[in-house]
């Protein structure tokens, strides 16, 4: 059985802090959500995950980009890179890096849900025949991709897995389970191409996506409920998972 081998101490050094658990959901309205899935080289499949998690075979990442028009964190763009993994037997994505276009969104997503977010310039454009995404930090492009040829799909035809973010929390250093509810009104499957991806900028230089599998783009609202479960990063989820206590 494969398990993650990343150093928890090393990951903890850049992990954000959640100082208190928030009970209310964060609502994001009028969201355009682009999800691109790509296989990555197997050399890093265990090395980028903490010991609580298991990689998939083949190793894969999903890149999610949100253009949020309104909501509890205002209007903003957001991009995150998640490594596909298993927590026990459950399908999850472990966030290695994330960017937001506003300081409010960046600090909100980090402080409430533990996304390892920093601010960046995000250019996310959706056109009639596809979408383009470019992310720049201090003038350097860290991600560029395009997606074309939309095909209509049903709202249930796209799988979004829950996210795990490593953060310093009131429970200690934990993997924080973020269960985003996507309420899509329109969704298309796309054919995507990845033009540029800087693994180091998304948390680990060993992240090397090489084979884009699929993409989807949805018009939706996203609800991010208060965190319910966390998991110790150095212990398998079967025994390391615990409920969040807001008392």
């Amino acid at each position: 059985m494969l398990v993650g081998t990343a150093s928890v101490e090393a990951l903890a050094a850049s992990a954000p802090t959640i100082s208190a658990w928030r009970e209310q959901a964060v609502e994001l309205r009028g969201v355009t959500c682009l999800q691109v899935t790509a296989e990555m080289r197997r050399a890093a499949r265990e090395a980028v995950l903490p010991p609580a998690l298991h990689p998939t075979i083949p190793a894969a990442i999903s890149i999610q980009a949100w253009r949020v028009r309104d909501g509890d964190l205002g209007a903003f763009d957001f991009v995150c890179c998640r490594v596909s993994c298993r927590s026990g037997v459950r399908a999850r994505g472990f966030t290695t890096g994330a960017c937001a276009s506003t300081e409010r969104a960046s600090s909100g997503l980090a402080g409430i849900f533990g996304f390892p977010t920093r601010t960046a310039t995000i250019d996310f454009r959706q056109g009639y025949d596809g979408a383009d995404l470019r992310v720049e930090v201090k003038g350097k492009t860290i991600l560029a991709l395009g997606a074309t040829s939309p095909e209509p799909m049903g709202p249930d035809d796209v799988q979004y897995t829950s996210t795990l973010n490593l953060a310093h929390t009131p429970n200690g250093l934990r993997l924080v389970q973020v269960e985003a509810h996507h309420l899509a009104s329109k969704i298309d499957r796309l054919t995507a191409h990845l033009d540029s991806f800087d693994g180091e900028a998304f948390g680990d230089a060993r992240l090397r996506p090489y084979h884009v599998v699929s993409a989807s783009i949805a018009s939706e609202d996203i609800s991010l409920p208060g965190v319910r479960f966390v998991c110790r990063p150095d212990e398998l989820a079967f025994t390391g998972t615990e409920p969040v206590s807001r008392a």
Binding site: M1, P58, R86, V89, A91, M153, G154
Partner: protein, 384 residues
């Protein structure tokens, strides 16, 4: 009630040539013993690239060896993945017929479409198409076997008129099955007159619902072949020991390891948005199988509901429950990642055959072979 054994040929890390050799040869030894003990079937799956979980990518080769080393046990070639990028339908028909001949008419052929992106992506298969190609395969295979001049103009392949050779020994052809993972696939099987080969460990309630529906629908089936196969088999695990505590301590970790390895597969739906795959593999069913009513006597023994892990008394009760809900056969996985030493696997088989199997059949029943119903007036149409 029929009893079979079922092989994924799961292989533990660290991988080595010797490990794979050992897994294959342990499995062959288990087949020889199962044959002697009166088990009815041995099934070998087809999977590709599924590290640890299954190293059984050429089941027809494995089953050829089983055919040569056994006398009466039937050979379950299943399931063949029915997408042309992996298996051209002509080659499936040819290989299956040859296996039926050399085994003396002991072949059962399972059909499937694969549920992991690991496999579909590896062969460059468009997941949208697999249900379509599966449908085409199950319709053409019987015709290839029954016709001396078969031609086809289809969606996934076409061919001019040819005589596909050899023909299987069983007349008109071996029983056909469909592996059932996703809810609703049992109805696809029933409508076409195909056997229902459960490959996920569904709980009693879920299996009862599926089985009832299957038996209801198959009464009005439109058979795709020359025989109707109305059997419902499920997959289960087997570790039998006189002391339930020993059985539990050895068997439960084996079951857990298999389910965990299964959950780590990269499911098609997770990688590729599609209407053709509506569930994340069979992890959901496996998890449902864990729930059980509070009055279940196995609970006190710490044994999972419905699973073939325990002492003979527990296994008899468990199988009777499966039988009562319409299941006609159970195929047992005997090991996972070689967690159980080979001698204990063999001893478990012997104990099961000695203490449990006789409760479900008459002494003369072992030689009886299931005879599928021949479809009256079936005429193959080579040009449809």
């Amino acid at each position: 009630m029929k009893f079979g054994i079922f092989f994924e040929l799961s292989t533990p890390r660290p991988f080595s040539r010797e490990n794979e050799w050992r897994v294959y040869h342990n499995a062959l030894e288990q087949c020889r013993l199962a044959d002697e003990l009166g088990f009815d079937h041995v099934w070998a799956v087809e999977h590709h690239f599924l590290e640890e979980y299954s190293h059984s990518s050429s089941p027809e080769v494995f089953l050829s060896a089983v055919a040569a080393q056994t006398r009466r046990i039937r050979l379950g070639h299943g399931a063949v993945v029915c997408v042309p990028e992996m298996n051209h339908p002509i080659r499936v028909a040819e290989r299956a017929a040859a296996l039926d001949i050399i085994s003396g008419g002991r072949l059962e052929l399972g059909t499937a479409r694969s549920s992991t992106w690991t496999e579909l992506g590896g062969f460059g298969v468009n997941p949208d198409d697999t249900k379509i190609t599966w449908e085409e395969f199950v319709r053409v295979l019987p015709q290839m076997w029954m016709s001396e001049e078969f031609e086809w103009r289809g969606k996934s392949f076409s061919m001019p008129a040819r005589n596909v050779l050899p023909k299987p020994l069983q007349d008109p052809h071996p029983p056909l099955w469909v592996t059932v993972t996703s809810p609703g696939t049992e109805l696809d099987a029933a409508r076409r007159g195909l056997g229902c080969l459960g490959v996920s460990a569904a709980g009693y309630e879920e299996q009862e619902r599926r089985t009832k529906e299957y038996h209801r629908v198959i009464q009005q089936c439109e058979p795709v072949g020359g025989v109707v196969n109305d059997q419902v088999h499920t997959m289960n695990f087997l570790y039998c020991h006189e002391d339930y505590r020993v059985a539990r301590d050895i068997g439960v970790p084996m079951v857990t390891a298999f389910n965990v390895a299964n959950a780590h597969l990269y499911w098609t739906r997770e990688a590729f948005p599609t209407r053709a795959y509506q569930t994340l593999g069979n992890a959901g069913a496996a998890m449902k199988a864990k729930s059980r009513p509070a009055d279940d006597p196995s609970a006190a023994k710490g044994l999972p509901e419905g699973v073939g892990v325990g002492d003979p008394e527990h296994l008899i009760a468990t199988i009777k429950r499966w039988e009562s809900i319409g299941v006609t056969g159970i195929n047992f996985l005997l090991n996972a990642m070689e967690m159980v030493p080979q001698e204990q696997v063999l001893e478990s088989l012997r104990l099961f055959a000695r203490e449990v199997m006789p409760k479900f059949r008459d002494p003369g029943d072992r030689s009886r072979v299931y005879a599928p119903t021949t479809v009256p007036g079936f005429v193959s149409d080579p040009t449809c």
